[in-house]
Amino acid sequence: MSRTARIFAGLFVGLIFIAALFPSLLAPGDPLAVNPSEAFQTPSLQHPFGTDESGRDVYTRVVHGTADSLTIGLAATALGMGIAILLGVMTAFGPRWIDSMILRLLEVLYAIPALLMALLIIAFTGPGTTPAIIAVGLSTAPGYSRLIRTHLRTLVNSEMFDAATVLGHSRWHKIRNHLIPNTLSTLLALITLGIGQAVIWASALSFLGLGTPPPAPEWGAMLANGRTYLHFAWWLTVFPGAAIVTIAAGATLLGRTATRSRI
């Protein structure tokens, strides 16, 4: 990563973290404060992103929504990654029949696109924030599993590993000194990419009325709400959506840069 890119990336991550952990520093107001006399204000100096149908300040809601949207994205990625790491380790180190069985399973899961699988899961659990996290986590797991399996397989079959075997190092030594250091950076890049995707999937579910319900300032829920007034109150849709795209594109670029500089 070049110096400028690193500074930009640092600023970006810093801003997101402040918005998520201390939203009041950036937007001191109350995201749920209703003020009917100020409904549907166009963006102005006082309300940079305008106000919604109950007069709530959209800027305050977008900033305070960072924590909700990001937590859902993080939790879903953690779930998907956790399953993927488990499956990846089992395929890379387990007996051959486990590897081929898990591969078959993954092949089956590929035939069901992520959104369709998320919808299927919610058909059984019913809508809500937790079901959305589970749905996004489970539906992204197959993709990660294949990537992690390929990565671990390449390492296990590498000359570095052969050399360690020839030198008589124990299995644990190989895992600790070769496998884990060489896997952590790849995992970190994958997780960064994954969070961006998970935020998009979770917002899509909320947008469809299957995830976090209103009036929570979660971005997808705000978009779902803004749809009703799309023909005149464009700001209700433009700004929460821009926040989603910024996080997703930012995470994608960060993850890609990290992948390129590591591998």
Binding site: E107, L119, L120, I200, L210, T237, V245
Partner: protein, 313 residues
């Protein structure tokens, strides 16, 4: 002969996959706590009448032992009987047959638009300056990262609310399909353009392009005869994937533009927990995926026999 055994293996794998999907759904319905008949009817909140529950029990053979239920369920699926939708009280297969043309039309039009945009972008980027290429990359990344639900809403704001050129709701007219098709096409075009540009640049600077130039072929001939052909193969795979997952892709877009279709029917079925409908569309989607990916593999084998035998080209 080799072709036949390849096909048999593939069809076997497809059948296995459909069986797994059907079995998982069968088990999942019975794992929901409470009465499976109630789950089929939309959960405890649906307050289904005693008679309706009895009909569901009858239709799904819920009074029989679980293994008998399973065999009967698979038998029904094999004969194409997907059950009756509870929300609409009509056969699921019939509703799906009515909805399929709309989704197919949307998918095909959006694919054509995506190819057009991607081809133009890749052709321009492959022959422009460094700055132009960098800008092209940014446009491609952003286009590929924008989620359908927001892109659709933005297109409505710009072309319907502000400019007033196109309707925001799909009215079934020619104008009505432009925005939904664009919404599906733009992100796909972003991915396609990235793929095509990479292989175009490689192909245009490869030994066979140099050889063609040495034979006196014009730059245009090299581009179409060698470069474009080289770029089409990875793009074909991605296109196949887009068709294979079209029902999933249509969910959001059909919902945003209030356009009837399989995707919107699936969303409605999930919201009302109409399990026969959800099962039917999910199985059909898996079937399409298998068939389309099979076709893609066959076409790839025809275009490039070496790659199909596992050799890297």
């Amino acid at each position: 002969m080799r072709m036949a055994s390849w096909l048999a293996r593939r069809v076997g794998a497809a059948a296995f996959l459909l069986w797994v999907v059907a079995t998982v759904i069968f088990i999942a319905i019975r794992m929901i706590p409470g009465d499976p008949a109630e789950a089929i009817m939309g959960g405890p909140g649906s307050q289904a009448s005693a008679e309706a529950l009895e009909t569901a029990r009858e239709q799904y053979h819920l009074n029989e032992p679980i293994l008998v239920q399973y065999v009967l369920y698979l038998g029904q699926l094999i004969t194409g009987d997907l059950g009756t939708s509870y929300a609409q009280q009509r056969p699921v297969a019939q509703i799906m047959a009515e909805m399929l043309p709309a989704t197919l039309q949307l998918t095909l039009i959006s694919l054509a638009i995506a190819w057009l945009i991607a081809f133009l972008m890749a052709a321009i980027a492959a022959r422009s300056s460094r700055l132009g290429q960098a800008m092209g990359t940014v446009i491609e990344v952003v286009a590929a990262a924008v989620p359908h639900f927001w892109l659709g809403a933005m297109l409505i704001i710009i072309f319907s609310t502000w400019l007033g050129w196109l309707p925001a709701v799909d009215t079934g007219t020619v104008q009505g399909i432009i925005l939904p098709a664009l919404t599906l096409a733009i992100p796909l075009a972003g991915f396609l353009a990235q793929l095509m540009r990479d292989s175009l640049v490689t192909a245009m600077s490869s030994p066979f392009a140099l050889a063609a130039r040495a034979r006196g072929a014009s730059e245009g001939q090299v581009f179409f005869r060698h470069g474009f052909r080289h770029a089409a193969l990875p793009a074909l795979n991605l296109t196949g994937w887009a068709v294979a997952t079209s029902i999933s892709g249509a969910v959001v877009v059909e919902e945003v533009f209030a356009r009837p279709g399989l995707g919107r029917s699936l969303l409605g079925a999930v919201l009302s927990r109409d399990m026969p409908m959800v099962t039917g569309i999910a199985l059909f989607s898996a079937l399409i995926y298998m068939v389309v990916m099979l076709l893609v593999e066959a076409v790839e084998a025809i275009i490039n026999p070496a790659a199909a035998r596992g050799h890297d080209v």
